[in-house]
């Protein structure tokens, strides 16, 4: 699970970071052969912040290649699965097993959310711009966010409050004043009314449906109104996010060309072969698919102004639609994935499964809105409502399963 482990990993004061977050004392590889053994010259802002708050960096946790897969199954270092072949996201397994206080993990394409749902840990993908992305391996910069996973909401809040805040080194970072809205004492309006997105819950298997029912019962018992709406509009987020994510990914990973650092093929006689063979030999199938898909979506022809442009417009439409829902509801309940378990066989037979299963995670990714995963369900709220969403997670914890 952990790729590299720090010498002293005293559980209570220890925070793990995933392999997308740069550290100067341990390699950062983004789960890719391309960056195997890559030592960064600088550390991520979040790493500096957790150190400044008195935590140890407890180790580097394995992720899938550039963290766009289901549950880390595309990692160069191998997947994290139990004896039956059931995939578990390493980030969630570390939180569950090692007893670290929390794990910081970059939510690019919903992997940490799926991992948390399957392992039943708590995870927050905070409002975009409240946690610095300085020093995280860039993939889909317009939507990815460093999130926090923990066993308890209290631990999650402690670490969250250590990492939020403005950073001059990140041009998309919000003001300290805005970031402070995520804190415990924030007087953000409590969640009183939740809309369940039927267009999504209709498609899930029995175990996931049971999680949703259980959540509904707990919420209603605690005076939270739960309504059902269709919400089919949100399904459009997936296709748009796949285009935006792939386009940005294609551009961001183009820097790995075998020239400056990272993997370089021994098989070349000229610069074109150096590029092509280095990338062909080092990148996995899912990443290659995403590169091709993203590259294609950015092409401009006379008739077609590009899939990328259309996706930007869909992003706006989805955001506006959600903003309208938030006039009536405080949070939207969505599944995190359609099944309660996935095996290596599932992802082997369908390499791009994460580009289908992200139908549930894409709405929050594409809009940058906060998403909490608790007890296997996902709550998406309006910007800066993170603390209110975590308060619901606390209720669930109190009530047990």
């Amino acid at each position: 699970m952990k790729l590299y482990v720090s010498q002293s990993s005293a559980a209570a004061g220890c925070v793990a970071v995933d392999d997308m977050i740069l550290t100067t004392d341990q390699p950062t590889a983004a789960g890719s052969k391309m960056l195997d053994g890559y030592m960064s010259l600088f550390g991520a802002e979040v790493v500096e912040k957790i150190k400044a708050a008195g935590y140890e960096v407890g180790g580097k946790v394995n992720v899938g290649e550039f963290s766009i897969d289901m549950l880390g199954e595309t990692s160069f270092y191998g997947e994290c699965a139990d004896e039956s072949g059931k995939l578990a996201g390493a980030v969630a397994e570390v939180v569950k097993a090692d007893g670290v206080k929390a794990c910081l993990t970059l939510d690019v394409n919903g992997m940490p959310r799926r991992a948390a749902a399957i392992a039943k840990t708590v995870f927050l993908k905070p409002t975009y711009g409240t946690v610095s992305r300085y020093g995280t391996i860039p993939v889909a910069c317009s939507g990815e966010t460093v999130g926090v996973m923990a066993n308890t909401t209290a631990n999650l809040r402690d670490v969250l409050e250590a990492v939020i805040g403005h950073d001059d080194k990140d041009g998309t970072s919000l003001s300290d004043e805005k970031c402070a809205l995520l804190k415990r004492d924030s007087d953000f309006k409590a969640v009183k009314k939740i809309a369940v997105i039927k267009a999504m819950t209709d498609k899930v298997d029995g175990a996931v449906a049971a999680d949703i029912d259980a959540f509904k019962a707990v919420a209603e018992k605690n005076g939270i109104e739960v309504c059902e709406i269709d919400g089919s509009e949100l399904l459009a987020a997936k296709a748009a996010w796949n285009v935006l994510m792939s386009a940005e990914l294609c551009n961001n990973v183009s820097r790995y060309d075998g020239v400056k650092y990272g993997y370089r093929t021994p098989n070349y006689t000229n610069i074109d072969e150096l590029y092509t063979n280095s990338r062909t030999e080092a990148f996995g199938m899912l990443l290659k698919s995403a590169i091709l898909y993203g590259s294609q979506s950015l092409l401009y022809t006379e008739k077609n102004r590009g899939a990328y442009d259309k996706s930007l417009r869909v992003r706006r439409v989805v955001y506006d639609y959600m903003a309208k829902l938030f006039e009536e509801y405080d949070a939207l309940l969505m599944p995190v994935c359609s099944k309660a378990a996935y095996t290596k066989a599932d992802t082997d037979s369908n390499v791009t499964l994460s580009f289908e299963e992200n139908v549930y995670t894409a709405p929050a990714s594409i809009t940058g809105l906060p998403a909490v995963v608790v007890n296997g369900v996902q709550l998406v709220g309006k910007a800066f409502s993170d603390s209110a969403l975590l308060a619901v997670a606390e209720i669930c914890e109190k009530e047990g399963k």
Binding site: L22, A30, L35, S40, L41, F42, A44, R133, Y134, G135, T136, I137, P138, C141, S142, D168, K169, D170, G171, T172, A247, E248, C250, N251, N252, S254, R255, D257, V259, K260, Y261, I271, Y275, S295, L298, L299, Y300, T301, Y308
Partner: protein, 478 residues
């Protein structure tokens, strides 16, 4: 058939900023290879671009100098292509909303006045430099130039001859040097030019096949290249010597010919898209007005003012406006000494001479106008002789100094001690009776010899008029 040449230019200009466009590395020319680099400008993952505000200032200033409209919301975009000198394999540039659009540059050639339309000015980062070593058959990359800020000035295809192109480039250079946007030094690559050229029958409104010559960096080479390309195009059209294709060509100035370059890419393949890490830059009125109020007068406005208000001769005014540094120094000196003609002469003759000796350009003038003015005032007030003032000026080029104090410290202050003058005169006359006699016999030159000797003895520190009168009197009495 008669043909006309249609030329559009893309001019890249390195901006005169201290640091690079997205990081704090030095943007200075030169330095040891890979000395001015950090993880950001050599493309390591995890660094995020933070826009250097001064770059936007200069992009706006350039636009204002070239009569452009300023886009009040301007954005940065990514342009993807692979080349080893481009560390991220994308260049951050402006594609969708460049800082300045729709401008105009007025030029004058032997055929008269003409306006050249500017399509846009966009800000972008420069690429690094490849160093090829044929001996070991290796290529190495120097990232010092990576992310040095550039503006690219794109003209409409309004130019029709080498003469016009040169006039246009000289005009750009003058305006942008004036606004301190760039030093525009072609020999250091801080001004480079892509020439897009096509040829068509005179009067036709259909454009011919266009070729592009990239990275031209001398005016004379540009003129030769345009003449060569024009002739090649006409030859191809008239005699079918070759089929013209839209392509990028390299100009070889030694061979005096252009050659096709391998070119696999067309514009559509650059896959431009907005950089999600750089928020749109909003230029509010306050920012806009600050940049506008810091702009200099246009050179010809200055020239007219120098002639009409300060009474300078046209030639002198023309000389001064060749350089912003000269104008600033001139205006500063005039303010202190109140004599425009003197101030102009000191710059045009004395300062230019020293710059020549130091092999520096007029833009490298580094003395303050105030100090020059004070020096001129010392001369006009007859406190320091002209000859000594020139010595002080030379010293001013070496270090910053107060002319009056320097004159005092070095014994350059004119003395009105007539006693000292009398004894020197007496000694000189006594030592050279021949010259005295020569003068008395009508040899005017002899007086100058005696005068020079006295002056030398007095180290130049006396009023020459008084000295002359006293000398004449002493000779008469001798």
């Amino acid at each position: 058939m008669r043909y006309e040449t249609v030329i559009g230019l893309e001019v890249h200009i390195e901006l005169a900023t201290e640091s690079k466009i997205f990081c704090s590395c030095s943007a200075k020319f030169g330095g040891e290879q890979n000395d001015h680099v950090c993880p950001a400008c050599c493309g390591m993952p995890g660094m995020l671009p933070i826009v250097n505000k001064h770059v936007v200032d200069l992009g706006m200033a350039a636009g204002m100098m070239l009569n452009c409209d300023i886009n009040r919301v301007t954005t940065f975009d990514k342009k993807s292509y692979y080349y080893p000198d481009l560390p991220c394999s994308y260049q951050t540039t402006q594609w969708f909303a460049p800082v300045s659009v729709n401008g105009r540059v007025d030029i004058e050639t032997s055929k008269g006045k003409k306006s050249i339309r500017i399509k846009q000015i966009h800000m972008e980062e420069d690429a690094g430099k490849l160093v090829h070593d044929d001996w070991t058959n290796t290529s190495l990359v120097d990232f010092n130039r990576t992310s040095v800020p550039l503006i690219e000035i794109v003209s409409q295809p309004d130019l029709s001859s080498a003469e016009e192109v040169i006039a246009y480039l000289e005009r750009l250079r003058s305006l942008l040097r004036f606004a301190k946007v760039s030093e525009c030094r072609m020999e250091q690559g801080s001004m480079r030019c892509d020439v897009n050229l096509s040829v068509r029958p005179e009067g036709s409104d259909v454009l011919g096949v266009r070729t592009e010559m990239k990275n031209m960096n001398s005016l004379s080479a540009i003129a030769r290249a345009i003449e060569y390309e024009t002739a090649r195009h006409i030859d191809a059209i008239e005699n079918g010597t070759e089929e013209l294709v839209q392509e990028t060509r390299r100009w070889d100035d030694t061979k005096g010919a252009s050659f096709a370059m391998r070119n696999k890419e067309t514009a559509g393949d650059y896959r431009y898209f907005p950089d999600p890490n750089v928020m749109p830059i909003v230029i509010d009125d306050e920012w806009f007005n600050t940049v506008k109020s810091n702009l200099p007068e246009f050179p010809e406005v200055k020239k007219a003012r120098y002639i009409d208000e300060l009474g300078l001769a046209e030639g002198d005014a023309e000389h001064l406006i060749q350089s912003r540094a000269f104008c600033d120094c001139f205006e500063g000196a005039y303010e202190v000494c109140g004599n425009a003609k003197e101030a102009a002469n000191w710059l045009i003759f004395d300062c230019s001479k020293i710059l020549n000796q130091k092999q520096q350009t007029v833009d490298q003038l580094n003395i303050s106008g105030k100090a020059l003015g004070e020096l001129i005032k010392l001369v006009l007030d007859e406190k320091v002789s002209r000859a000594n003032a020139k010595k002080i000026l030379s010293a001013m080029f070496e270090e910053e100094l107060d002319p009056a104090e320097y004159a005092k410290a070095n014994g350059f202050i004119v003395s009105n001690d007539t006693g000292a003058m009398e004894s020197v005169i007496a000694a000189v006359i006594a030592a050279d009776p021949k010259s005295v006699n020569d003068y008395k016999n009508g040899k005017e030159k002899a007086l100058m010899a005696l005068f020079g000797k006295c002056m030398k003895e007095l180290k130049g520190n006396c009023n020459p008029q008084v000295l002359r009168e006293m000398l004449l009197k002493s000779i008469e009495n001798a």
